[in-house]
Symmetry: C2
Subunit: 181 residues, 2 copies
């Protein structure tokens, strides 16, 4: 059984804050800047179907108040377990390189865990980012000075993004210092 997709985890996370319908979720993805998950019925409803079929969420039809009956989903205990495992998963250099957005989504849901989990997460993120930054700085040397500078400049943009990431992680980490775990 493969892991849920990022969209599925995003849904699972949102549902563990409050039970919602597919329509509610669409609205959230459409209006707020929570990742850039889109947000069309053709993505949301199939994802809900997959999560339900795998037993990670369950839906009950609410026919009482709305114009049309809606199906309110909430995580099952199995879904909750899977979500928490995902939130606590190790942070690898590869995650930092290719799935930084997913890492940030994970952090956004960290209020489901204790403060120590946030500290660990932020610390691991800072370390993994530094590790990747060292690699990038090494790679930067391949650009020679007599070529047009655009490639190197675009590359340096990447470096700046990761520097900002490491700074954010360390600054945010300080926010958790001295808090009860």
């Amino acid at each position: 059984m493969t892991d849920p997709t990022t969209l599925e985890f995003a849904i699972l996370g949102l549902l563990s804050f409050a039970p919602r319908s597919g329509y509610d979720l669409m609205h959230i993805f459409e209006t707020t800047a929570i990742g850039n998950y889109s947000s069309s019925p053709g993505a949301i409803y199939p994802a809900l179907g997959r999560l339900e079929k795998r037993g990670l969420i369950e839906g009950v039809v609410d026919d009482s108040q709305a114009l049309r009956p809606k199906k309110i989903f909430r995580p099952t205990s199995d879904g909750d377990t899977n979500l928490r495992r995902w939130l606590r998963a190790d942070i690898t250099k590869n995650d930092v390189q290719r799935r930084l957005d997913e890492l940030l989504l994970r952090f956004a849901f960290h209020s489901l865990l204790d403060a120590q989990a946030s500290r660990d997460f932020l610390n691991d993120l800072a370390v993994a980012t530094d590790e990747y930054l060292a690699e990038l700085r090494e790679q930067r040397k391949i650009f020679s000075d007599d070529e047009p500078p655009h490639g190197r400049m675009a590359f340096e943009f990447g470096i700046e993004q990761y520097r900002a990431c490491a700074r954010w992680a360390r600054r945010t980490l300080r926010h958790f210092d001295g808090e009860s775990s």
Copy 2:
């Protein structure tokens, strides 16, 4: 006729610096950090096929030196036109929000154009980024102080990323000042 995908433009751009085989391209995507385009034969070869079928690139078989015959691709004049149109396309807030990586890929290929195009690009990018930043700062207000801070913190990560983007654009822009166009 829809636009080529980002991967297809990445290939088109690389080929306009030097003609290459599919294998060469795979190797570039695998080893260098040019975007995070992957890089499997199942992505590259079909993309090359689509580009060739649409007349944007053409390949000639080179049977002379290698262990196996390889097909060397180069852009056609139509492909070159399409690439340059893409490089000069307007930068919208939507591009900044959802396709920042594609914008940076475009800039990396800007050595194919004149210095004025780079200046315009960087200036437009800075403006569009500021515009989006203003929107994000407006959205930040919805987070209340008594909720757990993780959502707001992840949101602020996004803001920091875009601030770094605007800084990079303006700093890089200065590099082109006083240069001949």
